[in-house]
Subunit: 675 residues, 2 copies
Amino acid sequence: MAQWNRSGYFRSSVSRDVNPDLEAERRTASFSVERLTAVLDGGADNTRTRRAMEAVIHRDPVFSREKQYFQSQNERYEAAVRKAVRLKEKMLQRGWTENRPETKYFYRALGGDVAFNVHRVFKNSILALGTDEQIAKWIPLAEKYHIIGTYAQTELGHGTFLRGLETTATFDTSTQEFTLNTPRISAMKWWPGDLGRSATHAVVFAQLYVKGECYGLHPFIVQIRSLRDHLPAPGVTVGDIGPKMNFEHIDNGYLMLQSVTIPRENMLGRFSQVLPDGTYMKRGSDKINYLTMIVTRVEMLWVEVIPALQKACTIAVRYSVVRRQSKLNPGEAEAKILDYQTQQQKLLPLLATAYALHFMNAYVNKFYSKGYTEIREGNFDSLPELHALTSGLKAIITDYCTAGAEVCLRACGGHGYSALSGLPFLYTKVAASCTYEGDNTVLFLQTARYLVKCLAAVHAGQPTPPSVAYLSLTNSRKCWVRTEADLLKPDIYAEAYRRRASRLLSTAAAKLQALIQSGAEEYVAWNRCTVQLVQAAKAHCQYIIVKNFIDTVEKLTNEAEIQKIMKHLCDLFALHGIFSNTGDFLHDGYISGDQMDLVTASYLDLLAVIRSDAVPLVDAFDFTDENLNSALGSYDGHVYQRLYEWAQKSPTNQQVSQAYESYLKPLFQGALSKL
Amino acid sequence: MAQWNRSGYFRSSVSRDVNPDLEAERRTASFSVERLTAVLDGGADNTRTRRAMEAVIHRDPVFSREKQYFQSQNERYEAAVRKAVRLKEKMLQRGWTENRPETKYFYRALGGDVAFNVHRVFKNSILALGTDEQIAKWIPLAEKYHIIGTYAQTELGHGTFLRGLETTATFDTSTQEFTLNTPRISAMKWWPGDLGRSATHAVVFAQLYVKGECYGLHPFIVQIRSLRDHLPAPGVTVGDIGPKMNFEHIDNGYLMLQSVTIPRENMLGRFSQVLPDGTYMKRGSDKINYLTMIVTRVEMLWVEVIPALQKACTIAVRYSVVRRQSKLNPGEAEAKILDYQTQQQKLLPLLATAYALHFMNAYVNKFYSKGYTEIREGNFDSLPELHALTSGLKAIITDYCTAGAEVCLRACGGHGYSALSGLPFLYTKVAASCTYEGDNTVLFLQTARYLVKCLAAVHAGQPTPPSVAYLSLTNSRKCWVRTEADLLKPDIYAEAYRRRASRLLSTAAAKLQALIQSGAEEYVAWNRCTVQLVQAAKAHCQYIIVKNFIDTVEKLTNEAEIQKIMKHLCDLFALHGIFSNTGDFLHDGYISGDQMDLVTASYLDLLAVIRSDAVPLVDAFDFTDENLNSALGSYDGHVYQRLYEWAQKSPTNQQVSQAYESYLKPLFQGALSKL
């Protein structure tokens, strides 16, 4: 018994003895895991840098996540502040900055539970919207955490529709001050992170009124708490919005302003100002604002969203080769659950998706960097395409990763539901990404609106941007697939996806047109097409992702073994997408029922192919045990021991409950005489 | 300001002033909500009884769920024990018993957070598996909570595959005792509810060994904690398995046995016994054991699962007519979000599903009661059909309700993600139902195995049970739908579902047969067909649910208005299912692409029809505010006020955090001289 009951044993990142069932999976890898990791990192140098930074973080006990699953909301908040302050120290010590590519490495190592992310948005908004004087005054203070800021935009009654925000800022020429007010409960600022218990300042968005006239939404710097004693400033009501499904380490807050005055200089003035006499001045285009939104969406994908799916896959795949359950062959030992086709069907397409999204993200970052430079130079030509692309991809990628994390959780049976598996944490956290930085349905519709415009341009013979150029291609009527092997040709499935995206868009656009021509008002017509427009936008994004996966695989010519397994994953991703949406492809007879049977067969065969490399494929994501923080997913596969060790640390085993003394003890007296 | 800042205002179940946006929805109901509630309750008398019981529960502050979202795992456990003990008092006072139909009313009123559910399983297992003497000894003690029992079956390494359980019970003729052992870590009992911190006794399943021979799994009553001081009995290691995604009110536990001895009489002996000389005796059939499993699955659907979806729909639908966001018509006020087609598409099919499942559940209960009586009388003929039906329905209903609760959560934007919406609680709790009482994939495959047998019987010209009789019908080749109106004929869509279920089963069975004939071993062939077999089982269940909805609507002839709206819901449920699985219907050309366009049009038109009755339809579920425990879903629709009032009660606003004093205060000093 003592043999498996060792303590102090489980926290080492790589144990010397690996569960033999897991080790066996690694011995038969068809490719070098280390080289694939380098491919994912964009080079072995990056891998080295990343690991070095991760080691720094993991060595420091302040950053430990050991107690995370046992902490209350209060404890998680306190730990997150402690980590943020420590991280700032580390960054100063080591010369790490937020603007270098390595940023992502320390956020990756931290696993996300760190405070003051919205403080960064506060800073960025001053940098983007402030005058040079404002930047010079506020940024150094914010840099050193001498003040903590938040970005107070969303209100209790308004998230998506910014023009509807109700907070007011009224200028008084006699005092040279703005007076800010929350006119009714729906106008309370609600949700801003770092607001509930930390922030001393906020960039508050409010409707600007001067001399009775409304000039629309503008940003103002407002001090909300004293720097001496942290009490709310006069007229300010501020607090925490309470428990959430996750993100309890963040003090999302509420803010109510009652006649709070700020000096004229506190309106962020790069694009508009109010002069002392009350004259309103607008200067330049504030289109650059879109860029802030785009950069946040691009960043969140690699900081929080895609890693969540990759971690969930790592945990579920490793567990699925350690867990044995039932006998596949009556004469043999119980089978690894990953040997069941139904388990493969749950996890392996997700593994393919995790790779597809990683590569998609790499592309978007390149595309974004190029666009960013142009836009900073005042050339806004690429802005609509960049906005449409990042909107749709944010929506589809967060959808994929949320659904995927949930499948991983459920695929681990009861143990997946234990917080100690790490999966409830991953799922409940990534689920929020479908809403923050833009509700996914709203974002898909933004992409759809852009696509409808592009289609009109195609019909008018006008040129279209690269990502939608495919809309002008002519469509063949039938897919010519005859064998399963044909289906493994990227041209074949790319064309099927392209055609489907094109058809769904045309159908939705035609319906829209027909409704308008039959006399419906445009907004009514648009609303009546939105279900189909969302479908079209999704199909567009899926085509982009498939196409990008194909292109990525083609470029891996120097890595034959890796290219081979990535080609399999690309095939699996594409065929799984067809298998899961057969109707879209069968609808107009482009693919026939018989051909669809080939898709099914080919897809199921691929599962078995990927199966044998499943563990090496998740190993290549190269998450440390600290990073996964999962009793089921650790590198050494000692699942049951870890569950037992970790459970013993739970407060439910450390704290005495009054339940026994108060309620049970008196009852048990009744049995004493009888047993 | 003070006008909306009243406290002590929000806890009344029905406020006098209802949000006008919500009230307007109720004024235009096409039917009587009260009469529909009576239909759902199975008669107005039941409604009265239910409301009276709910009032008793809600009046007692012990049962209050006001603090639930702010409680730690320890606090939730303690509250659940307190409630269980109080409930027992109430039952004794009022003469409520667990065996009467009213049971469901008090469980409904409690909202589920009550301890000692597995204690009930402990009792039931003694009743089913114990001898009369054992029943006489243990049941009275358990009834009065003089002992608390648990049902210790699942082990760390074994859930699904019971034969693989590793705990041993070895009989020693010299001492007349069984010695129980946990031979290795994977054999620890893990997950049983009420075990971690409460139970004094357990029914432990262990492999029985007598004189070196193994007789397989048997149940034993084992005392695990002292009745005097609640300390673990000698040789017993017991504790709590720690935090979970939800169910933190339950002390799911672990149990390790090291040479724990119990008297011979403690083996539950209705179906097998060990005589003093070590002779093993088996008597009668223990097929009746299946009945315990079936009854638990049937019960959980109405106790926990279907109400979760109904509550989630109530919250999301009410919120969606109170929340206004963006302008649908540029000239008008912001629109209620339920007026957006995309929001309707999320919520209204779920509303239809909630009704479909309610009616399905009513049917299953009737079917089950009939079968139960026959089986108790020793006639096991209906057992396979009952088992297959309840397995598949448990799986599909928990799938529907879990996915549905998640959609409701996401459909409420950021506020849905707040614990105060009640939706995270509903989702994280119902999600567990996909795993407990049988993993859904495993259950679908059990149904599929039964269906494959039935199909073989059909081919052999043998008779089939009623629920699968449809497999012997011949299939028409084409659907004859020509207009949207045709699609609203139940015969039409029922036939489409029937045909699809039949085709998917035939395809999977044919593949299975072909693989076996080509020389594959049966278990290999079965595994290679499981993805398609699961599809077939799902299609079967969906057909059964659609058919039952149609039958239910037909019988509502005395309630013309209710019949009309239920018919719309039935149409919506059926057409949404086709719209979401178009490929299954297009595959063999039974429905053409053009016909599918009619399905889409008809489905989208129905959304607008149901929209106008959406609020009355959720009102008819008749959940009290206490029951919903949601700041977004209360009857009066004062959403924003409640969010604000409730947030103020959060411990994050009541407890001082060290974060400011320890980490922030020193930093803020740096700004004092500069601001």
